[in-house]
């Protein structure tokens, strides 16, 4: 049992820090919460690629470094603390690459993996999973992929597609079996879909923070070559189930709002206790201590899950539990910050009176999405109960 890092790991962390500090000083990016949603910067991704920091846990034969998941969490912890712009490669690194490694064809591996680890152009991915009638109940997808010779014809609609407007490819879940006798979870396949193909339309959806990160994506008889299907037909859910656990509980889940956390801490340390009054300060202090405990626990959960993966175990329960916990922590963080900062946290960006230059108002507006994205807290608790504790489904 050792709750600290090896010398090598500390060295690696420092290396990442130094790189990020240099980039910050050079003005490559600014630290602002929500970097993952908006920081799409291929040039920056290339710099990370040059250092071997994309696909670092992948086997060497695929251009990876064969490093541990704990090392990857160390990298990402530093990245997200400063909200470096990693959106260009993040999805490819976190789940597209690993899915291709596990289920992809030789051609897919040869084509995509080396390009991913180099962060080459025109390779940003988005996820095409959710539909208007398939949210938490993902097996309900209606988008169809009908075989036509050596191709599939895709027809249907996706929604809540983060970064769809900036992406080159989508990782698509579509129905390939239409026999009502076959269970729904054995009727879907996964595809790599080039979003430049004729028949693909991406339309923006503004979220309640007034930002455009979501999209709707429509497919009007899009013809996709069969070599873009991933794995055998109708095995999508097997693949998703096998893969999700590895991607669910990255450290980003507890660090999406780290700048708020840091600024709040600074704010509280500099508070004029005479002005705020001893009673208010005593509440603030108690709440901040609780927040700190919750944050440190979230961080331990993420490292523990990564370590579980490194032990060769499948972290279904650990990952679901960690994500559900961390998402809820982030909501409490933003809520607490608005209460400590008071009504100035209602002000949006653009006035000097705004708490944390409007970042706090923005983060509070983003908060409801944390417990929804990537598996709602309810779905995650189902996983903990059914797969972790073996409670009956019926």
């Amino acid at each position: 049992m050792r709750f600290w890092f090896t010398e090598e790991q500390e060295k690696f962390r420092q290396e990442v820090r130094d790189f990020l500090q240099a980039e910050l000083q050079a003005g490559t990016f600014v630290t602002k919460s929500g970097g993952l949603a908006e920081g799409n910067n291929q040039a920056f991704s290339r710099k990370m690629a040059e250092r071997g920091w994309i696909g670092m846990t992948w086997p060497k034969e695929y251009g990876g470094q064969g490093r541990t998941y704990v090392d990857k969490v160390i990298l990402n912890e530093e990245i997200f603390k400063v909200q470096a712009p990693v959106a260009y490669h993040f999805l490819a690194d976190r789940q597209i690459g690993p899915s291709i490694i596990h289920f992809g064809s030789e051609w897919q591996k040869e084509y995509f993996l080396p390009r991913f680890v180099k962060a080459e152009e025109n390779l940003k991915f988005c996820l095409l999973f959710s539909e208007p009638n398939a949210g938490s109940d993902l097996v309900n997808v209606a988008t169809s992929a009908i075989r036509d010779g050596d191709a599939y014809i895709i027809r249907g609609q996706k929604v809540w597609t983060s970064g769809g407007h900036q992406s080159d490819y989508g990782w698509l879940l579509a129905r390939t079996c239409f026999d009502p006798q076959v269970p729904r979870h054995e009727s879907c396949s996964q595809f790599i879909l080039d979003l430049r193909l004729p028949g693909v339309t991406v339309r923006p959806i503004l979220n309640m923070a007034g930002r455009h990160t979501f999209n709707e994506v429509f497919f009007d008889d899009v013809r996709v070559d069969a070599r873009f299907r991933v794995g055998p037909e109708n095995e999508a859910f097997k693949q998703i189930m096998a893969q999700m656990d590895y991607e669910r509980s990255g450290i980003e889940r507890v660090l999406q709002n780290y700048p708020i956390y840091r600024k709040l801490m600074e704010h509280v340390k500099q508070m004029d206790r005479k002005k705020t009054g001893a009673e208010f300060y005593s509440w603030v202090r108690d709440s901040m201590a609780q927040l700190e405990i919750e944050f440190q626990i979230g961080r331990l959960l993420v490292y523990y899950t990564a370590w579980t993966i490194d032990q060769g175990r499948k972290p279904s329960k650990e990952a679901a539990l960690a994500k559900a916990y961390c998402n809820q922590y982030e909501q409490r963080l933003n809520d607490l910050a608005t209460r400590i900062l008071g009504p100035s946290s209602l002000l949006r960006e653009g006035t000097s009176w705004a708490a944390f230059d409007g970042e706090l108002a923005e983060c509070y507006l983003w908060s409801p999405s944390y417990t929804l994205q990537g598996g709602s807290v309810e779905v995650l608790k189902n996983i903990v109960a059914q797969r972790g504790l073996n409670l009956p489904r019926k």
Binding site: R2, F3, V268, D286, Y304, L380, N390, L391
Partner: protein
């Protein structure tokens, strides 16, 4: 980051688990609580023979000079079974005080007996509100002649005082008009000037009020240096608190197991309760409490065992474990319904233990203040 246990620790843990399962089933625990002695001398001897009481005491005193972390996992296992015994008050609390007060004469005199389980010591460090008051003790010691003292005052919630060979106390020492501050003494549980009265507590464990009325203490009863008592106690406090956390994690894990088993078996509405989503989510929350409590408590224990700074981590552990253990026992009662509210069922043992453990060494609010301090707030 390395979350697996050393082989030796794993072995100790599984031996302890087996021992507790075989020898300390809940029926046995409930019987012991009803008995006058409040512990099983036979099991106490076995625990001593296994070397558990001497785990963290030096080889010179018959101990094994082992790793604190091993003692921690032992407490986790003991927390699962809740076997009542003077382990904590004697081998740990009193043992560490004697170890830490820097008096080799005392160590030689008492540690071997403690380690062999032949001598039981206890501590009387709580005031009439049940609060540890060593920084400014309400108990008084007056020097009446060269090296002779009179101790006066009341100590509450003194575990196993009725069988204790010695009761260690911390009293404010005065010589004439001069005040020396908190000072450790050892006292007897009988004779002139001391009265031991049993208390009926929520956990049913053997706890006593000890009243000193001009109890006469000799020079050799003074432990360590005058005025240094609080320091000695504070120095061992992180270890005591962390072991308490280990015990809580053990108790919490039993509560989760018990609840998950019950909702799998109990059929209502034509299906197991555990098939209902609201029940599943409660169980998922309880598991989250358990996993997080375990991580934060293990973190504190591993830092202590490596001799690294741990003030913040220990406070975080006690704050979190206190809250989530208690909360889980409340949720478990809700999941169990009426059966969990009976004497016959085991759940009440944990419900009671969670409350007592929460209030021992300060609750979550108390420890959040410490976390705040460590954060520079």
């Amino acid at each position: 980051m390395e979350f697996s246990l050393r082989e030796e620790t794993k072995m100790l843990k599984s031996n302890a688990e087996k021992f507790m399962k075989e020898k300390s089933p809940s029926s046995f625990v409930k019987n012991i609580l009803k008995e006058e002695k409040g512990f099983s001398p036979a099991l106490w001897k076995e625990m001593a023979d296994l070397g558990w009481l001497g785990l963290i005491h030096g080889e010179a005193y018959g101990g094994s000079g082992g790793d604190f972390f091993d003692l921690f996992v032992l407490f986790e296992e003991m927390g699962k079974a809740l076997l009542p015994s003077p382990f904590f008050c004697s081998a740990v609390f009193a043992g560490l005080l004697i170890q830490g007060a820097g008096d080799d004469r005392l160590r030689k005199e008492y540690l071997p007996g403690i380690v062999q389980g032949k001598r039981i010591l206890t501590v009387g460090l709580r005031n009439e509100q049940g609060v540890y008051d060593h920084p400014d003790p309400e108990l008084e010691a007056r020097e009446t002649g060269e090296g002779s003292y009179r101790i006066k005052g009341i100590r509450l919630l003194v575990p196993y005082a009725h069988v204790a060979d010695q009761i260690l106390v911390c009293a404010g020492l005065r010589k004439g008009t001069k005040s020396f501050g908190p000072t450790l003494f050892k006292t007897k549980n009988n004779g002139p000037g001391v009265r031991v009265v049993p208390l009926h507590t929520l956990t049913e464990e053997k706890q006593f009020a000890v009243t000193y009325t001009d109890f006469a203490a000799a020079p050799q009863d003074l432990i360590g240096s005058p005025g240094k008592g609080a320091e000695v106690i504070e120095r061992i406090m992180p270890r005591l608190i962390t072991l308490k956390c280990g015990e809580m994690v053990g108790g919490l894990s039993r509560v989760v197991d018990m609840t998950v088993d019950y909702v799998k078996q109990r059929v209502q509405f034509g299906k197991p309760l555990g098939a209902l989503q609201v029940i599943q989510h409660t169980c998922a929350d309880m598991t989250t409490f358990l996993d997080t409590a375990r991580l934060i408590a293990y973190q504190a224990a591993s830092l202590i065992s490596a001799g690294l700074p741990c003030a913040k981590e220990v406070a975080m552990a006690k704050a979190w474990c206190s809250d989530v253990y208690k909360r889980s026992t409340q949720m478990a009662h809700q999941m169990h319904g009426g059966i969990g509210f009976t004497e016959e069922h085991d759940l009440h043992l944990y419900y009671k233990h969670a409350k007592a453990a929460e209030l021992e060494f300060g609750d979550s609010w108390h420890h959040r203040q410490k976390v705040g301090e460590e954060m520079g707030l």
